[in-house]
Symmetry: C2
Subunit: 65 residues, 2 copies
C-alpha cells in the first residue's frame, strides 16, 4: 500500500497526526485527512509543507497568518 504518514512540523520537531493517510484535501482554513482505515481528521490553520512519497511522509505546518 502506498499511503503516507502525516506529520505536523513545528519548531520543536515533528508530531505524527495521522498514520497511513490515503486521502488529503486542502480546505479554506486547513486540511482534511483520511486514512486507509477510514479514520478522518480535519486540521485547522494548517497547510502542506512538503510531500516525500517514497519515504511515505506528508509534512504539514501551521499557516503563518
Amino acid at each position: 500500500m502506498c499511503e503516507a504518514n502525516a506529520y505536523l512540523v513545528t519548531g520543536d520537531g515533528e508530531e505524527l497526526v495521522l498514520e497511513r493517510v490515503d486521502q488529503l484535501v486542502p480546505q479554506e482554513d486547513g486540511v482534511f485527512l483520511q486514512s486507509i482505515f477510514g479514520q478522518q481528521k480535519i486540521l485547522k490553520n494548517v497547510k502542506i509543507k512538503a510531500l516525500a512519497l517514497v519515504d511515505h511522509k506528508i509534512y504539514l505546518e501551521r499557516k503563518e497568518d
Copy 2:
C-alpha cells in the same frame, strides 16, 4: 515504490504533468515537483486540489486569483 502521478485538473479533464512524483513542495506562486528519476518541474499559479495516495494520484488545479 510509492510515488504518485501528478495531474492538472481543469474544466476539460485531467492532464498528466509529471509521472512518478516523489517530492512535492508548495511554493508562494505554485508547486515544485520532483520525480523518482530526478526530473523536476515548477508549475506556476497552481495548487494542490487533493491527494489520493492509494491510487497514486496527486491532483493539482489552477489558483483562482
